[in-house]
């Protein structure tokens, strides 16, 4: 059973429920008759910025349209608050009745919360309680060994298809921690690299991790980028540009930036909701991975992206 400390509960209760972003809209109305009702409606909404009525029949109201609060998120928050209170154990009916929700709606919300591990269901009683993941928000999203276990078949498939060695990396302590490694399937002598640390800025795996983690890329900007080969990116602006590109194309590549003669390609592994938890990629001789112009080969990029998507799907399915 999960114990929730008073401090954690306080943190939980203080969550600011809605902070929706605003965007500008301008609306033009052509009927004087409709004005009073329309005006009342808009002025009630918090986002009215300006309203001008002309002597003619045209009225223009400019307002920062705040998208309305998302009901299901409000309801999910209510479910969590309810579970954080009192006994902390409630059945589906109790939860639905307490919040005035239809049984089906409450069930859908609970199943979704269960999927993201914010809620757990007691297997013997069927009752719900707060999930352990809530207490570790911000520490770790996915166990490294769990990721290896879930991705092992897809990593094998990628190695078989691409003919290159495969690595799966997660961020650890300012570097890429290799959590899984599959040999290049050519029966040459190779050394298992699980547990090795690779530089973030000079490998495809690392660039993926940097591209999708604002804190990590900010930290990288503050640090000096070590030059490993004559092609290593050492200027922060150049790295920033590359990371923008990575986000736009959904994968990262690198040629001779880590080791002369070697290249790598990687793509992000995500958990439900889109959070990037790791990267999967291949590495090998630059002439095998890149075309004559030095760009990663499209076929290999596709294979890496497909493997990343397959691992992502397996994380969704089994959660």
């Amino acid at each position: 059973m999960t114990q929730v400390t008073p401090a954690q509960r306080a943190r939980f209760d203080n969550v600011d429920t809605y902070r929706v972003r605003s965007c500008d809209h301008s609306v033009t109305l052509c009927s004087n008759a409709a004005l009073p009702a329309v005006f009342r409606r808009f002025s009630r909404s918090r986002g009215v910025e300006s309203c001008s009525t002309l002597p003619t029949r045209v009225v223009s109201i400019t307002f920062a349209a705040v998208p309305g609060p998302i009901q299901s998120i409000e309801r999910a928050a209510a479910v969590l608050r309810l579970l954080a209170r009192g006994s902390g154990h409630h059945g589906l009916t109790e939860i639905a009745d307490s919040l005035g929700l239809a049984r089906g709606t409450a069930h859908g919300i609970l199943r979704t919360l269960q999927r993201v591990e914010f809620v757990e269901q007691d297997p013997s009683t069927g009752r719900y309680r707060l999930g352990a993941a809530l207490l570790h928000l911000g520490t770790s999203y996915l166990d490294a060994n769990e990721l290896r276990s879930r991705s092992i078949n897809w990593a094998d498939t990628l190695a078989a298809r691409s003919g290159q060695e495969v690595r799966i990396g997660m961020h650890h302590d300012g570097a890429v921690l290799v959590v899984h490694h599959v040999f290049r399937p050519d029966d040459s002598v190779q050394t298992l690299g699980i547990g090795a640390m690779l530089p973030l800025h000079a490998t495809a795996l690392g660039k993926v991790l940097l591209a999708y983690d604002p804190d990590l890329s900010a930290a990288a900007r503050r640090r000096e980028l070590t030059s490993l080969t004559r092609r290593t990116i050492t200027r922060t602006q150049a790295l920033e540009r590359v990371l923008t590109e990575v986000r736009a194309q959904g994968w990262a590549g690198e040629a001779e930036e880590y080791m002369p003669g070697e290249a790598s390609i990687a793509a992000p592994i995500r958990i439900p909701g889109g959070l990037v938890v790791g990267a999967i990629g291949i590495s090998g001789p630059v002439d095998r991975l890149c075309d004559t112009a030095g760009r990663p080969r499209a076929t290999l990029v596709r294979q890496v992206s497909q493997a990343a998507e397959a691992v992502t799907t397996s994380l969704v399915d089994e959660n």
């Binding site: 060994n145 290896r148 879930r150 399937p185």
Partner: protein, 497 residues
């Protein structure tokens, strides 16, 4: 194409010529537990699953039946079903290898004259695990069954036989055959002649009329007339034997270890029938053509299931792979050992009364040490089996080829390499059971030229080299052995024995 009829699910997998996986379709089937210790499955449900997954796999691969070179069948071993020859309707459910309803019967049979001879002929110790005792139980307990069986109105089959009979026409001329590896797990086959043995049939009271014809693994020679007609069924192998074949353990002395819920180690002993003096089972590895490859088998009853127990019964981890994370929070076992003799000890001890224990507890021990002890238990049990295999064969094996879900546990694989003091190697295709069946089928159909051609398809995905200091290894092994001895002592002192 391979059909892998496993204990919990049935899968249909399509491979290409480079042994790369092209399509997978899978369906689980129900487990029935009508009484404590009884485990049954519905053979009709399994057959229906095959009916669904074969077309599904073809669709997924984007191919038609005529593009399937051959079909190989591999299956959970020892599980069998009896059915009416004229209607195809099963007599009750299939009795699964895990079923222990014959505990008493086995104890009675154990005292009968000729028991030594039984072991000599079939290579197996008398246990609830194998088909013959359960078959005898059915003949004794289902009204009217024995006379029907004697008249030949009822057919017996392990799951390979059941599926082949149905696929090749069922009541309309279905082939009633099995392969040597499956037959070698019934306790009814003579290992030397590789035919049903009259003495064994007599000992278990099994009428020969119900038994299928025993064929070499690659001489099944059937053609499907149902589900997807026109596919040649050319091979059948028990699942662990298929894994041995899929791992291309073709040389004498090569060993494969499959790590799932339990651990299954098989060593190819070549054309020599080795009778174990160290508590292993003698079985047939596979038979390609005239000459069989014999094998020694050592099973670890509790491997991955110990991790599941740690997760579900102790609740110290959320998912099985997290055991490695927890184990890595400490640098060693802190002097703690776990012997998971949950339902006795299997190979090489064979002590049904032994019960598990945790030893070496001090106030220093935390859950990290326990997690290490859990993983190490699988390592040491592997060492015991491999030691027994080496002793029986008289030569040390150079490497261990591994497969199964637990090969994702990096710490465990390194530990196995360390305690065996030989490299542990994982192949690129994790589906070695299905691959083995597909290999045997493709070999029979001429899709692959020879064993050498298959060996070229085997690619190394990972290799763990031993790094443990020899002195430390032997000290730890001595501690493990002392812990195992304590389980014997516990069994002896139990008031019920």
């Amino acid at each position: 194409m391979a059909i892998d009829q496993g204990t919990t699910s049935t899968r249909c997998i399509v491979f290409d010529q480079n042994a790369r996986l092209v399509a997978v379709a899978q369906r689980e089937h129900r487990q029935y537990h009508p009484r404590p210790g009884w485990v049954e499955q519905d053979a009709v449900e399994i057959w229906r699953n095959v009916d669904r997954i074969m077309p599904q796999a073809l669709r997924q691969a984007g191919i038609t039946a005529d593009q399937v070179v051959a079909l190989g069948i591999t299956n959970q071993r020892e599980t069998f079903v009896l059915w009416d020859r004229h209607t195809g309707v099963p007599v009750g459910r299939a009795i699964v290898w895990e079923d222990i309803r014959t505990e008493e019967l086995v104890a009675t049979l154990e005292k009968q004259p000729g028991i030594e001879e039984v072991r000599e002929r079939c290579g197996l110790p008398l246990a609830t695990y194998f088909s013959a005792p359960s078959l005898r139980w059915m003949l004794d307990n289902v009204a009217g069954l024995r006379s029907k069986a004697e008249r030949g109105d009822v057919l017996f089959g392990t799951m390979d036989t059941w599926l082949i009979w149905n696929l090749t026409g069922g009541v309309n001329g279905g082939l009633h055959v099995t392969d040597v590896t499956n037959a070698s797990r019934t306790m009814l086959m003579n290992l030397s002649t590789r035919q049903w043995d009259p003495m064994l049939l007599d000992f278990f009271g099994v009428p020969s009329a119900i038994l299928p014809e025993i064929r070499p693994s690659t001489e099944i020679s059937g053609k499907t007339t149902r589900v997807v007609p026109g596919i040649s069924i050319t091979a059948a192998l028990g699942d662990q034997h298929a894994a041995l074949f899929g791992q291309t353990c073709f040389e004498k002395g090569s060993i494969k270890g499959t790590y799932g819920t339990g651990g299954f180690l098989l060593m190819n002993t070549g054309t020599e029938l080795v009778r174990s003096k160290h508590g292993l089972l003698t079985t047939i590895g596979y038979q390609i053509g005239g000459e069989p490859a014999y094998a020694l088998e050592g099973s670890i009853a509790v491997a991955g299931s110990l991790v599941q127990w740690f997760r579900d019964n102790l609740g110290l981890i959320h998912s099985a792979p997290e055991i490695e994370t927890l184990a890595r929070t400490v640098k060693d076992n802190g002097g703690c050992y776990i012997v998971p003799a949950f339902s006795g000890l299997f190979a090489p001890h064979w002590l049904a009364q032994a019960r598990g224990l945790v030893v070496g507890l001090t106030s220093y021990i935390n859950k990290g040490h326990l997690a290490r002890a859990v993983l190490e238990a699988t390592g040491w049990q592997t060492r015991e089996v491999v030691d027994a295999m080496n002793a029986d064969l008289g030569a040390p094996t150079p490497v261990l080829k591994v497969d199964g879900g637990m090969t994702a546990d990096h710490l465990l694989m390194q530990f196995i390499a360390d305690v065996l003091d030989i490299p542990v190697m994982r192949p690129l295709v994790a589906e070695t059971v299905s691959l083995g069946a597909a290999y045997a089928a493709g070999l029979a159909a001429g899709y692959w030229p020879d064993l050498e051609g298959l060996r070229r398809n085997w690619h190394l995905a990972a290799r763990w080299n031993p790094v443990m200091d020899a002195r430390h290894r032997e000290d730890e092994y001595a501690n493990w052995k002392r812990a195992v001895e304590l389980t014997f002592a516990w069994a002896r002192s139990s008031p019920s024995t």
